[in-house]
């Protein structure tokens, strides 16, 4: 009997072995010959770019792709100055700074063969202003005369956009605004092919057709994006890499392993802390690591309209209570202490401003002066933090939590998925905040985070509202950049004196790139400059 059973078990084992053999025989070579052909680059990214449609993508990763596949009239060079690209030169400015006239360069062609005309640039901006497009950027372009009337369906076209021939385009603004050049240089202002848009505007981001250095050959959401060099791009000669294959959906840890073992060349996500700790001291990967400082602020926003942070003293106490060195260690020192609103790299950044520093005794005194000695009379404060791969965010939040509790606050963390987090803005007394620039003008960092109108728009996370500050900000738009910098320095000092934030840090972004890829110079506004890569 037992022998019979053993026979049976052997049979089961044989079946199992056969099954695994079948599997094994279907194996292709272990690591697919890594793309070593020289002109193909493989990259990995953890999630889909939010959109490849110029009207919709509004984040550094989407911009990286849109900038690779479309041409804007102007663009930012690597030192973030504005230079002409699709335009033959910088626009002529007239009408007291309200009228901008662009001339297109010759030879712009969409990859489906249609020539690019001034009308296509006009149509692209008009499309953003059309509410049916559901573009986040509508408010940006409402500086153009007649844009609001068009968006509200009171006009059938935008009066401030005039096409004066196949290669001449004129914009008239409602008031002088130097940042108009910036919003014509961000990738959203790219020309789009009208016939393709007419067929299917809503899903243009899944099948984009552009005129940039690369063509999106295929995009399977969640799986892969393949970019191939666009032979009809007007500067195609300067584009070196023939093909870029991007695999979507790996965790950052696995992405790093792929780059380490050579099955991928570029990790498009920033290196997470655990990987950084391991690679920082590893001589084999010294040449793989690239870094630069993001032009972005990381901070904890007080809700200025909610007790107890209606009190300046309480805010000041909280800001002094947090140990900035411990915060930096929680991000493995991939950053420097935040000293002011205008981040390093932004015109107007003042290197002489010192960090606030760690003064726990001072914090306790201030809290006592505010009538809350050792936290008496303070409610339990909810601290909203977003997840979604930002583990450093949650770790930093725990450092802040502990430091606040040491001086007498009671804090509970509420870690939420980004969607829920954004829906909860304004509900909690403390919010982990981050703001990355939309364009390199200091106006953006200050106005987006502190103008009263941005409370409803969802960027002013501390609900700061000072109409005197707003007036000066608005007036500054008519000045030149050089003239306005003293204004911004004064304003940021004034705002910081009210302690709207617990300042945290300016983050260093680290990337892992196979050293065979040259030209991985990061542009601080969109990290991937595909067209500059050489292999």
């Amino acid at each position: 009997m037992t022998r019979a059973l053993r026979r049976h078990l052997v049979a089961v084992a044989v079946v199992a072995a056969l099954a695994s053999l079948t599997l094994a025989s279907s194996l292709s070579p272990a690591v697919a010959a890594p793309a070593r052909s020289g002109t193909t680059v493989t990259a990995v990214i953890s999630a889909d770019p939010p959109s490849l449609d110029p009207a919709l993508g509004f984040d550094p990763i989407s911009w990286s792709f849109i900038h690779a596949s479309f041409v804007t009239l102007l663009t930012f060079n690597n030192s973030i100055s504005i230079v002409p690209w699709g335009a033959s030169g910088m626009p002529s400015v007239s009408g007291g700074g309200r009228v901008y006239t662009f001339h297109l360069r010759r030879g712009l062609v969409f990859s489906d063969g249609e020539p690019v005309t001034a009308q296509d640039y006009a149509a692209a901006i008009t499309r953003i202003l059309n509410p049916r497009t559901k573009s986040l950027l509508m408010a940006f372009y409402q500086i153009i005369a007649g844009a609001t009337a068009y968006s509200d369906h009171r006009a059938r076209s935008v009066s401030g956009i005039q096409v004066l021939g196949a290669d001449t385009l004129r914009f008239t603004l409602v008031r002088p605004d130097r940042t108009f050049l910036d919003i014509m240089a961000i990738p959203n202002a790219s020309a789009v092919p009208p016939k393709v848009i007419a067929r299917n505007s809503a899903q243009f981001g899944l099948h984009p057709v552009g005129d940039g250095p690369y063509v999106v050959q295929s995009y399977v959401p969640g799986r892969e994006i393949t970019l191939v060099k666009n032979p009809t791009y007007f500067e195609a000669k300067q584009v070196s890499v023939q093909r870029i294959e991007i695999t979507i959906g790996l965790t950052p840890e696995v992405e790093a392993l792929r780059v380490e073992n050579g099955s991928a060349d570029v990790m498009m996500d920033t290196v997470p802390t655990p990987v950084y700790i391991a690679l920082r001291t590893d001589p084999r990967f010294r040449a793989y690591l690239h870094h630069f400082t993001a032009i972005a602020d990381n901070y904890v926003a007080f809700n200025l309209t909610k007790f107890p942070f209606t009190s300046r003293r309480v805010r000041q106490a909280a800001a002094y209570a947090v140990d900035d060195q411990q915060v930096l260690r929680a991000i493995s020192r991939m950053g420097t202490p935040l000293t002011q609103i205008l981040a390093p790299g932004m015109p107007g950044f003042d290197p002489s401003v010192e960090p606030l520093g760690y003064h726990p005794e001072r914090a306790r005194q201030l809290l006592a002066q505010a009538g809350h000695a050792r936290g008496r009379g303070l409610p339990v404060l909810t601290f909203a933090v977003a997840t979604g791969g930002f583990t450093a965010g949650s770790n930093v939040a725990q450092v802040v939590q502990q430091d606040l509790e040491r001086v007498g606050f009671r804090v509970v963390l509420r870690v939420m998925a980004p969607g829920a987090f954004l829906s909860s803005l304004g509900r909690y007394p403390l919010t982990m905040g981050i703001y990355g620039i939309d364009y390199p003008d200091p106006y953006d960092l200050i106005a987006s985070q502190f103008a009263c109108s941005e409370i409803a728009a969802g960027n002013n996370w501390q609900d700061y509202c000072n109409h005197a500050v707003d007036r000066q900000l608005n007036a500054s738009l008519g000045l030149s950049l050089a003239q306005s910098i003293p204004v911004y320095r004064r304003l940021q000092a004034q705002i910081f004196a009210a302690f709207p934030w617990i300042p945290l840090y300016y983050q260093e972004l680290w990337y892992l790139v196979n050293p065979r890829i040259k030209g991985f110079g990061a542009n601080p506004i969109w990290p991937m400059m595909f067209a500059n890569w050489r292999a």
Binding site: V12, L23, A32, F58, Q203, P221, E253
Partner: protein, 309 residues
């Protein structure tokens, strides 16, 4: 039997209606304004309001519910709030990966699990029994994502046999399916062992043994058939729950399946996409459940008799 199948099919349609209703209720009570999600956080109020009306959210709840059911009946799952992609198109792109992974994973579970159960039941109380339990438990104790990362590290990085995540090579399914199979097999071993032992002590098997049937025949011929009942139930449930439950495995291995799709949808508050995933999984589950019931009825005629009473 035909009456039984008909009855179950009608029941299945009822369940689908129940799922659709549950999804609607949850989507309705969630304190998130879909129009705001679509428009983005910095959109002007006028845009949000226009989208709100486009979506029909200004209608009374029963009108919305009727519209919703009507759209579903016509197979229209709507478009993603995040990407504008038709939900049905996204589901079709993602479904094959999840189906392949789940089928192979459950198959592996059953093969490993029932194999170990046979070993354990055949040599009850022996070292083999203990060995089988320990192997089964080892799997059960390991979180799938933990095991998955370990497998990836060892069999894809240290020993580059399998691809390091993703689905760009034909062998992508091996490691994730193994991590599902190994962590899930324990349930089958333990259930299988319990049922086999129970069956072996049943009168009819004792009778068969008394009449001279071999231990092997008793175990494989009679007891295993008996034990297959809970195992079939379990495998069916696993197939069904893993359809959405492999989310974490898909994340670890970077597989663009339904789980990843649902996860992204949760992160982005993309309700139509989430509803679509839940509904398509619902359809798979309802069909599987009906099939299990039919297999049940075939394995054990008593169920059929009482079931069609």
């Amino acid at each position: 039997m035909i009456r039984f199948v008909t009855r179950r099919t009608i029941g299945g349609v009822g369940v689908l209606w129940g799922i659709a209703t549950l999804v609607f209720v949850i989507a309705y009570v969630i304190p998130i304004n879909p129009a705001r999600v679509i428009a983005g956080r910095s959109a002007p109020r006028a845009v949000v309001e226009s989208i709100y009306r486009q979506l029909g959210l200004d209608h009374p709840v029963w009108v919305q519910y009727g519209d919703y059911l009507g759209r579903l009946v016509h197979g229209n799952l709507g478009e993603s709030y995040a990407t504008n992609q038709p939900v049905s198109q996204a589901l079709l792109q993602r479904l094959p990966y999840t189906v392949e992974l789940v089928l192979l994973g459950v198959l592996g579970e059953v093969i490993i699990g029932v194999g170990l159960a046979l070993v354990a039941a055949a040599r009850r109380g022996s070292r083999w029994d203990d060995f089988a339990s320990v192997v089964a438990m080892l799997g059960l104790t390991l979180p799938t994502f933990w095991l998955g990362l370990l497998l990836l590290y060892i069999f894809a990085f240290v020993l580059p046999i399998f691809p390091l995540g993703g689905v760009d090579q034909s062998t992508w399914v091996v490691l994730p399916a193994l991590s599902i199979a190994f962590t899930g097999a324990g349930v089958y071993t333990r259930m299988g062992r319990a049922s086999l032992l129970e069956a072996l002590s049943e009168d009819y098997i004792r009778t068969a043994r008394a009449k001279g049937a071999s231990h092997r025949r008793a175990l494989v011929g009679h007891a295993l058939r008996n034990a297959m009942r809970p195992i079939v139930t379990m495998a069916g449930l696993d197939l069904a729950t893993l359809m959405g439950g492999v989310l974490v495995t898909e994340q670890v291995f970077g597989i663009p399946g339904l789980g990843t799709l649902a996860w992204t949808a949760i992160l982005q508050n993309d309700l139509p996409m989430l509803e679509g995933v839940v509904l398509v999984i619902g359809v798979v589950i309802v069909v599987t459940t009906i099939l299990i019931d039919i297999v049940y009825a075939w394995l054990d005629p008593r169920v059929r008799v009482t079931g069609s009473k």
